[in-house]
């Protein structure tokens, strides 16, 4: 899976995943309980709802050196808070196009829906995001250098 460049440098993508506690976090849990294999590149942050995610969190993650950010919540219609994910969907659509507009790779920030019963979908999603981020390489654009 690893391409040659990352093999040579030893670089592994670091991906921050914001998962809603009711669906996607439970989906991740199910993937684990079901012993499904996916890359160890993601760092999960559990949030109450995808509607809780401020776009600033995503930018902050990129600034602090995340190579990619994954946001996942309940499928539309399944939100524990009825419509949190539907309001979030509008925010994410805007953020995604704004970041792409200023020239940040589309692969860096990804959004998806994962329900509590979709362990397989979660594992496949993570594998796809890792692969996407691996393809575009280490993030540098918004990273704040250490001093």
């Amino acid at each position: 899976m690893m391409d040659q460049a990352s093999q040579a440098s030893g670089w592994e993508p670091k991906i921050v995943a914001f998962l809603c506690t009711w669906c996607s976090y439970a989906g991740a849990d199910l993937a684990g309980v079901s012993r499904l294999q996916y890359g160890p590149n993601i760092r999960i942050i559990r949030v109450p709802c995808s509607g809780r995610i401020n776009p600033l969190y995503i930018l902050k993650a990129l600034q602090n050196g995340a190579d990619g950010v994954l946001v996942a919540g309940c499928h539309p219609g399944d939100c524990h808070y009825i419509s949190g994910n539907l309001v979030a969907r509008r925010k994410f659509a805007l953020l995604k196009s704004l970041l792409s507009y200023v020239g940040i790779e589309e692969e860096r920030v990804q959004f998806s829906w994962v329900s509590a019963s979709e362990g397989g979908r979660f594992a496949a999603l993570v594998a796809k995001v890792i692969e996407d981020v691996r393809r575009v390489g280490p993030a540098g654009k918004l990273v704040k250098p250490c001093r």
Binding site: L70, G77, L86, R89, A93, L94, Y101, Q110, A127, L142
Partner: protein, 338 residues
């Protein structure tokens, strides 16, 4: 003095005389040529009559007056639970962009519509001071006056006199204005107005058509000029948070300095916060001391909100702001499918 200025003065005088307003917000001539400055006249001012007599409406009234509303109607936080001082009744001159911002602020409960007496003025576009200075090739403008037929008479320090057509030196945002005539105001003053513009997103589409690397390079170059003075935010009518995310210290989201990454995140988030609220009055652009091309980046959010959610901030008080609502059928094209 033009007819519109005369009507504004008459109306302000009448409103004060009949006790219908406590304050009036309009424009007076600035101390520099090509500028008009916002002017707040209180009923109790000693020189009220003189100041009302100095109100103007010309091609230099570019400032968006809505920016003053949140502070004017702010509740005194120290008086929470006690009787609040009554909110002022305000008479106010509004052109299309001002009114759209006022509408956004009313909807966001930053100004009570009942306390506003809006005097709508059709707008023929405002002059871009920089464009005039460019015509003088760097020389200082000593005086400027408006003539008949859309002419602008400019005198430079070296004695040169120039006759420009105001249409040639209009602000870019005015050329692209889709709402030159205010609607649903309390009083409408007749006057010259522009035709609503068409094809306003061409500039944004042209930028989108460039490669990702070119776009990033342009973004990096523009934001690299930013000195983080915050003038764009202060001048923006819909940036009124008492504590901006950029200055929060717990948690401290971004640094306060000119570090490129911090400046980029500041601008990206500020632009994001303007979704469905920005009326493209270009107050941020005029306020920017470094000439950062904020229009190109801010324009994207206006375009996206209109294209994705079919929403453009206008004169309606009824429509819900696009990010506080949703539709079941909102687009999902951006969702990653494993």
């Amino acid at each position: 003095m033009n007819d519109v200025s005369r009507r504004i003065r008459e109306k302000a005088r009448e409103l004060f005389a009949t006790g219908r307003i406590d304050a009036f917000l309009g424009y007076e001539p600035g101390s520099l040529p090509l500028r008009a400055r916002p002017c707040l006249i209180q009923a109790g001012d000693e020189d009220r009559e003189r100041r009302v007599g100095g109100l103007v409406w010309d091609s230099f009234c570019a400032n968006n007056l809505a920016v003053f509303l949140p502070k004017l109607f702010e509740q005194d936080p120290g008086a929470r639970g006690k009787a609040q001082a009554p909110k002022p009744r305000l008479g106010m001159v509004v052109k299309g962009c001002d009114l759209r911002s006022v509408t956004a602020l009313v909807r966001e409960k930053q100004a009570p519509r009942g306390n506003l007496l809006l005097i709508g003025v059709p707008c023929a576009g405002m002059v871009d001071t920089g464009a005039v200075e460019e015509r003088l090739a760097g020389d200082e403008v000593l005086s400027a006056s408006e003539g008949e037929g859309g002419k602008l008479l400019v005198r430079a320090r070296d004695g040169r006199e120039l006759t420009l057509f105001r249409e040639e030196v209009l602000q870019a945002c005015c050329r692209e204005c889709r709402f030159p005539g205010p609607e649903a105001v309390d009083l409408l003053i007749e006057g010259p107005s522009r035709k609503p513009a068409e094809g306003v997103y061409e500039r944004i589409r042209a930028f989108e058509a460039r490669t990702a690397e070119e776009r990033w390079e342009a973004f990096r170059r523009e934001i690299g000029k930013c000195i983080r003075c915050g003038a764009c935010r202060q001048a923006c009518p819909t940036c009124y948070c008492k504590e901006c995310f950029a200055e929060q210290t717990d948690p401290r989201w971004i640094g306060a300095g000119t570090e490129l990454s911090d400046a980029m995140i500041f601008h990206l988030v500020r632009i994001f916060h303007q979704a469905g609220r920005c009326v493209e009055c270009d107050a941020c652009l005029r306020a920017c001391p470094m000439g950062v091309d904020l229009r190109t980046f801010r324009g994207k959010i206006v375009k996206e909100v209109e294209e994705l959610f079919h929403y453009l901030p206008g004169f309606s008080l009824e429509e819900a702001p696009p990010l506080s609502t949703f539709k079941e059928g909102d687009g999902e094209g951006f969702i990653t499918e494993p």
